[in-house]
């Protein structure tokens, strides 16, 4: 296997896994929050929030990457502020790749979680409230465990999307080996070389295997969680 992949490719695989993992983990909490707001909230600007969340789905990834670059780049308004205030640089770092992947996966995640929240019986939440749990405690002890299958589905969907994300990532954080060169960027680079389809397809196969394994695992996990939630 190590003979089959060159070190650069191993690096790309490892980076892709790292980026996708963090993108998934970091966007779960805000994803849950936004999904909850969209599912249960009755506030002004709900439609706007919904639209905003969906933007990365609607826009060509290159555009999303461009907007990210303009905003979070080192000379961008937010990017400069982040660097000056926290010393946090996103541009051209793997952290930026995480941001790009998160943004791209976010609408998918929110969709899945929102559907799960909408399926939770509010009567159970009411029951928890009468037992003394505040709104946040209700959420933590009842809503959240009950949407576990939806969370898993959403997270894995997000992970799969993050594994495949290319356009926004290469536009925002470039294609720096070991830093921002994820599997898709590596695949793209190979596709730029005539006759290099074979290594490109090898990388494609790897990302397919990784994502399918995640999908299959999620089906199992989600089924188990669903059983748990059904009280059996």
């Amino acid at each position: 296997m190590s003979g089959w992949l060159g070190p650069a490719e191993w690096q790309a695989l490892a980076l892709s896994l790292k980026v996708s993992f963090w993108a998934t983990v970091l966007s779960l909490p805000p994803g849950v929050l936004v999904a909850y707001a969209l599912a249960r909230g009755r506030f002004r600007g709900r439609e706007l929030l919904n639209g905003l969340v969906h933007l990365p789905l609607i826009l060509p990834p290159v555009v999303t990457g461009y907007l990210l670059l303009m905003t979070f780049g080192r000379r961008g308004p937010v990017g400069g502020w982040l660097e000056d205030t926290f010393g946090l640089v996103l541009a051209f770092r793997w952290t930026g790749a995480v941001l790009a992947a998160s943004i791209m996966a976010f609408p998918l995640m929110v969709r899945a979680i929102r559907l799960a929240i909408e399926a939770v019986d509010p009567k159970l939440e009411q029951a928890a409230a009468t037992l003394g749990a505040s709104r946040i405690q209700v959420f933590a002890t009842v809503t959240l465990p009950l949407i576990a299958p939806g969370l898993i589905a959403g997270a894995v969907l997000g992970f799969a999307k993050a594994i495949g994300e290319f356009g926004a990532t290469i536009t925002f954080v470039s294609n720096i080996p070991g830093q921002t060169q994820t599997l898709p960027s590596a695949i793209y680079t190979f596709l730029q070389v005539p006759g290099a389809e074979a290594p490109a397809l090898r990388l494609v196969a790897i990302s397919v295997v990784v994502a399918l394994a995640a999908l299959a695992a999620s089906e199992v996990l989600a089924r188990r969680a669903a059983k748990r939630v059904a009280g059996e």
């Binding site: 961008g76 051209f92 080996p177």
Partner: protein
Amino acid sequence: APFGVFAAASMKTALDEAAARFAAGTGETPPLLSFAGSSALARQIMQGAPAALFVSANTAWMDTLEAEGLIAPGTRADIATGDLVLIAAPGYAGELTIGPGFDLAGALGGERLAMALVDAVPAGIYGRAALQSLGVWDSVADRIAQADNVRAALRLVALGEAPLGIVYATDALAEPRVRVLGRFPPDSHPPICYPAAVLAEFDTPPARAFLAFLTGPEGREILNRHGFGSPDRTE
């Protein structure tokens, strides 16, 4: 830490080899090569990307960077030139001589001519200029399949989806499935050159050394082997 090189994707094979040779010869750690479209790279450089050297396939973007004052003064140099060729798909039997008013439309036989985006990607821009100066543009303008980069155009021809295409000579050389029907006269389009420059923010001696290596005899040899021409003069 190794210095970063941002380079047009079409230079990948040549620069990979050059970087390895440079490192082996100087004992430096090899530069970190990032390949993408010239426009994306240029924009990233404008946003402070950690690149010490930029190799563009596109003079316009290098001009933009220069105007912004981002390149180290006096380091801009054309490291290679290119030729534009007309290629044919495998199994395409026809022959064609490129010249003023040549029957490209007839040779296409109603099918598509593969090019890079004629308004956006350098190879496409050069190609359109060549066809216009040869007076055949109007006859094929609505027969063009524009790909998002020159390699994709090359692939269309290699797969036989388009019988003919216009790509750089370098691309044709690397793709055994296509056949070169002819070379566009150099004066039929603006000179194709690949400008490189050291970037002011990350200017380091190794980066300057690598640029010098590329413009030096060893670099020229490698670039020539990959089908690039040598610029007559360096700035």
